[in-house]
Symmetry: C2
Subunit: 231 residues, 2 copies
DNA sequence: TTTGATAATTAGGCTAGCCTAATACCCTGT
DNA sequence: ACAGGGTATTAGGCTAGCCTAATTATCAAA
């Protein structure tokens, strides 16, 4: 038996936490997260990513295959899921308990997630009744680090003629979220895909109340749907 | 096209914010904050303070008189008061709305104060009904940057025979705060100073319910009281 | 198979914040 | 007036994270 005590690891920095989240999101469909994708997501230069990847693989949070990309180790995945839980609980709490608009909570959570204690997050989760989805429909990992995985398709590529449930909406653009709320395009709504214009044109959908919406491709790519096979 | 508009001032870092708070607290009775006092309060080495004081005076947040100490400029004072408001609103919110113990909120607020937005603080203040004192009895600065100043005396030096109202309690030591709560020594309580033992001995006080408490000097120095002249 | 575009890495530099060790300053007691 | 002790500053160094410019690896097209 190794006497190696579970390292009294130094707390992760804000940067490290955000890198881990990025890698998690970029590898959620499997495969590797590339340097340039991470750089784009975090708005840093690619060499900054190379440098950070070196450090993170030295500390065992990621596996780095040079010139290929990176994946999270189990330890890195745990840390990433913890951050995602924090982020989504915060978004939920700000929305439900402090009257924040669903368009404004992401940027706030992006900072707070690095400053809250485990205890505070669990108090918030408790006050909310252990929510399973955040205000944008994204699943909230459990405190134990489990997260629901779902096969979703964007509205921009959903089969014409089929029906879908709008499940999750990209949370990063306040103005788009305001617009979507106005249009009644919020998680949970059922939509029938009526038509799609060619050349990356808009998708036309009908809500259950009979009204229709014309959704451009840019927006459609941010609406994640679950197809409902029947009618 | 247009003249490049530079953001007037980059956001303050966590370190800078904590230094400004320290200077505020150390100069609240007037005079200068010394390098070694700041160093002790922030648990950094004195040269770190010298370096930071240089930068802060270059950015106009403090006035530095070499070998004497520092004071806040109006701009530095505004920033410090804003941080103190954040800190105290956070402590109040965590206590009132999320069931935190008054001994545990300080350390949590010490981190969160650097991550919350102005908007979030005002939402919390609103939810609390614009509280004027934090859980430890410290006055909360207004959003406009005004703070109540009071002449308080520690229980360890209050006149024997007089009466005092316990107004404010040092907030940094969880165990001491737990003990004080047990003893019913919380802000607002009225105490008659019965006796004080010599050689920095304890102060004996009587509460309005007739029970007495023996308060050692170490604890007594952390209890800030307002003398009530009458009986 | 060579080549060129693209992506990734390395090289070198910068700032914020911290440190220790060395030095300078200030004040008080003689 | 001056010496010592204590405090403050300067000198020099380190890490985390970021940057740009230069270099190298990969891969697909010619
Ligand atoms: Mn978000
Ligand atoms: Mn973040
Ligand atoms: Mn506090
Ligand atoms: Mn702080």
């Amino acid at each position: 038996m190794s006497a190696a005590i579970r390292s009294p690891q130094p707390p992760l920095t804000r940067s490290v936490e955000d890198y881990l989240k990025s890698v998690f999101h970029l590898t959620s469909q499997g495969g590797f997260a590339t340097t340039s994708d991470i750089a784009a997501m975090l708005e840093v230069a690619p060499p900054s990513v190379s440098g950070m990847m070196k450090r993170l693989s030295e500390t065992g949070l990621i596996e780095h295959v040079p010139y290929r990309g990176v994946q999270l180790t189990p330890q890195g995945r745990r840390a990433a899921l913890q951050m995602i839980r924090r982020h989504r609980i915060l978004e939920s709490y700000l929305t439900s308990k402090l009257g924040f608009d669903w368009g404004d909570v992401h940027v706030e959570a992006e900072r707070l997630e690095h400053a809250v204690s485990e205890k505070l997050i669990e108090r918030m989760a408790d006050a909310l009744g252990e929510p399973r989805y955040d205000p944008h429909g994204a699943p909230i990992p459990t405190a134990a680090g489990e997260i629901e995985e779902a096969e979703l398709v964007t509205l921009a590529e959903a089969d014409v003629g089929g029906s879908v449930i709008l499940q999750e909406v990209d949370d990063e653009h306040p103005e788009r979220l305001h617009y979507l709320a106005e249009q009644g395009l919020t998680p949970g709504v059922r939509l029938r895909v009526i038509e799609r214009q060619p050349f990356n044109g808009p998708t036309i959908v009908r809500r259950d109340d009979g009204t229709t919406r014309v959704v451009g491709q840019e927006l459609g790519l941010l609406l994640f749907c679950r197809p409902t096979d029947g009618e």
